[in-house]
Amino acid sequence: MHRRWSHLATHLIVALCALITVTPYLWLLSTSLKYKTEVFTPTPQWIPWPINLGNYAEVFDRAPFGLFLINTLIVVTGILVVQLVTVTLAAYVFARRQFRGANILFLLFLVQMMIPIHATFLPNFLTLRSLDLLNTRVAMMLPFLASGYGTFLLRQAFKQVPRDLEDAAVIDGCAGLRFLWHVLIPLAKPTLVAFSLISLVTHWNDYLWPLIVTDTPDVRTLTIGLGMFVQQESGADWTLLMAATAFVTAPLLVIFLVFQRKFIESFMFSGLKG
């Protein structure tokens, strides 16, 4: 009996959290389907009526959002794929190898996390200019191909794998990179998934850096398109801003819904048994 009640309580709390999470999104969808005069009514109207699909058409008319989406996907996956390689290798070395200056080097990695991103803009911009890479998608990826945060996260995960296991693996002929590939990476899967999610969302939302290094719509990303609907002097065009936001956030939501089970599984079935 007692168990049942606590079960119910858990469900209630979870349902409440879900509601809190979903409410802004529902309001966003509702606003994106309204006419301008229906947005700011004295009592909030949840169901848009009459429904206005024109906002979405107008958003696409104002900026090439389809192209922006493709660019965003390229930039975000590009960053993630390279990051996974660099981060895994770096974390492996920091966690499992002893070499001179390892601590200082790792400290530098941590310091990198503390430097505000704005401070790196100018040097990075100069580097890109000398490489003749301004106004390219590479320019948006290059500064993020290594990640101090990811290295740190994964190093901690790798460190938790007991020494004995490595010794056993080595005896079985599974040393070095093979050990990394066959033992460490599978064990650190939840960390890798968590880091991937964070990286994906972070760079999906990048605004200032892409804005600074790109000039033409053919390489620009979704957030820059979204920025056109936020106006400093007059406030925003809410119906359009919400329609654009719905479009910009939808792919992330879809990605999450599709891979939801995989994400959760990776957290459930991890760790060393026995």
Binding site: K36, T37, V39, F40, T41, P42, D61, R62, A63, I74, T77, G78, V81, V82, V85, H118, F121, L122, F125, L126, R129, D132, L133, L134, N135, T136, R137, V138, M141, W181, H182, Y207, L208, L211, I212, D215, T216, D218, V219, I224, G227, M228, V230, Q231, Q232, E233, S234, G235, A236, D237, W238
Partner: protein, 428 residues
């Protein structure tokens, strides 16, 4: 498992390759290609409008191609300009918020335009701009940039709510005292909760609005040269005292709001009167279901306002022939016809007197005289304060304004603090 690594690397190489292709895609040519950074400050399809205008210019001017580059709000635009200038890769033409002139000069980023301005339109060009708009262009005896997307704060009132409160719906408050009385009548409370505010002085750019109040009270905050500050004057303290009266003592106006949230509040009838930029007029017209009016901001000793918005500048460290081409573009963008066109499309105030004689614009204004209020108020307006490190000065002022209307600090004390802190910033 080997194939997995292979697949991974193939993916990396493929993605980088796709991205690299674009790097080499720029073909050289004889024509002068100018980069033009512009922010979008008000609602509307302005990026498209700018695109159409530059297309037209490019068509009429073979040999020059202006490439418009959307660069975010004012702050990101400034950052983009600064980064490019410091990297030695400046945009040829750009629009930046007017208070940033000293910052641009400190970076040696822009070129003086006196020689161009003198010759333009047979010498009559510069005098045709409204005096208040010209103010933020001149510093150290030179003209640095040309007024383009310019605004000024005005006063909006909801005629329906005036009627309900038993006030004359056709008459806006003329003085601070009148404003206070009307705001009291227009505030509706249910218990402790305010259902309807009397007047909203919009937050976010409240430093800008505050400057207007100080002007109305007959004083100023920073001199045009940006060398003297005057925040602790009797007039400035009185202006802040008036705010504290409205928002803290009488509680007829919200002490906190954002620049973006107050126009919707006005539309939703949560506030009966509103101080905001002239730039929201088109938004209000499209969104409000009730009749509303636009008026001068009420006076204390005098009517007063200051201007805002962005100006067009030409980069300093580019060859003369590029500067000449850039000037051609600026002169074209700010012609009477285009100033009128731009005002109609954006809701900004047309920057030149003669723009108001353009037939299409006259016709447009005849349909809604409310668009003329901002122009008429210009006779009482002055330039916006500017100084190096202006962002910092803004933050200092805004913090004290917020603290004062919250009742955390006395107005006098707040303004003395601002004076001290801003002096330190300017001396540096």
């Amino acid at each position: 498992m080997r194939w997995k690594w292979g697949a991974l690397w193939t993916a990396v190489v493929a993605i980088l390759a796709v991205a690299f292709v674009h790097a080499g895609a720029q073909a050289p040519s004889k024509l002068i290609r100018l980069t033009f950074y512009y922010p979008v400050g008000v609602a509307g399809p302005l990026a498209k409008v700018i695109g159409e205008m530059t297309d037209k210019f490019n068509k009429d001017n073979p040999g020059i191609e202006v490439v418009p580059v959307y660069s975010g709000d004012y702050d990101p635009t400034l950052q983009k300009v600064q980064t490019s200038v410091m990297a030695g890769n400046p945009p040829d033409i750009f629009i930046v918020e007017i208070s940033e002139l000293p910052t641009l000069l400190a970076m040696n980023a822009i070129t003086p335009l006196d020689d161009y301005v003198k010759k333009a339109e047979g010498g009559k060009y510069w005098a045709d701009f409204f005096a208040a708009f010209r103010e933020n262009s001149t510093l150290r005896g030179k003209i640095w940039w040309i007024p383009f997307q310019r605004s000024t704060p005005v006063f909006y009132w909801n005629k329906e709510l005036f009627k309900k409160a038993g006030l004359d719906p056709e008459r806006a408050p003329q003085t601070w005292a009148e404003l206070r009385e009307m705001a009291k009548k227009l505030t509706i409370r249910e218990g402790n909760e305010v259902k309807q505010w009397g007047v909203t002085v919009s937050g976010g750019w409240n430093d800008w609005l505050f400057e207007a109040f100080v002007r109305q009270n007959g004083s100023w905050l920073i001199n045009p040269e940006g060398t003297k500050v005057n925040f602790d004057s009797k007039e400035a303290v009185e202006a802040l005292e008036f705010w504290v009266d409205l928002m803290h003592k009488e509680k007829v106006g919200p002490p906190h709001s954002t620049w973006g949230s107050t126009p919707p509040d006005f539309v939703a009838q949560r506030t009966a009167m509103l101080y905001h930029s002239t730039g929201i007029l088109t938004f209000l017209r499209n969104s409000a279901k009730f009749d509303f009016g636009v008026a001068f901001m009420p006076k204390s000793k005098t009517f007063g306002a200051e201007v805002g918005g962005g100006n067009l500048a030409i980069a300093r460290k580019i060859p003369k022939e590029r500067q000449d081409a850039a000037w051609k573009f600026i002169e074209w963008m700010t012609s009477s016809d285009n100033a009128a066109q731009w005002s109609m499309a954006s809701g900004y105030v047309a920057t030149r007197t003669s723009a108001y004689t353009v037939p299409a614009f006259k016709e447009f204004l005849a349909k809604d005289a409310r668009y003329l209020v901002a122009r008429d108020q210009l006779q009482y307006a002055s330039g916006k304060m500017m100084a190096p490190n202006f962002q910092k000065i803004r933050e200092i002022l805004k913090k004290q304004l917020d603290d004062a209307v919250d009742g955390r600090v006395a107005p006098k004390e707040a303004m003395v603090t601002v004076q001290k802190q801003v002096e330190a910033v300017i001396k540096r």
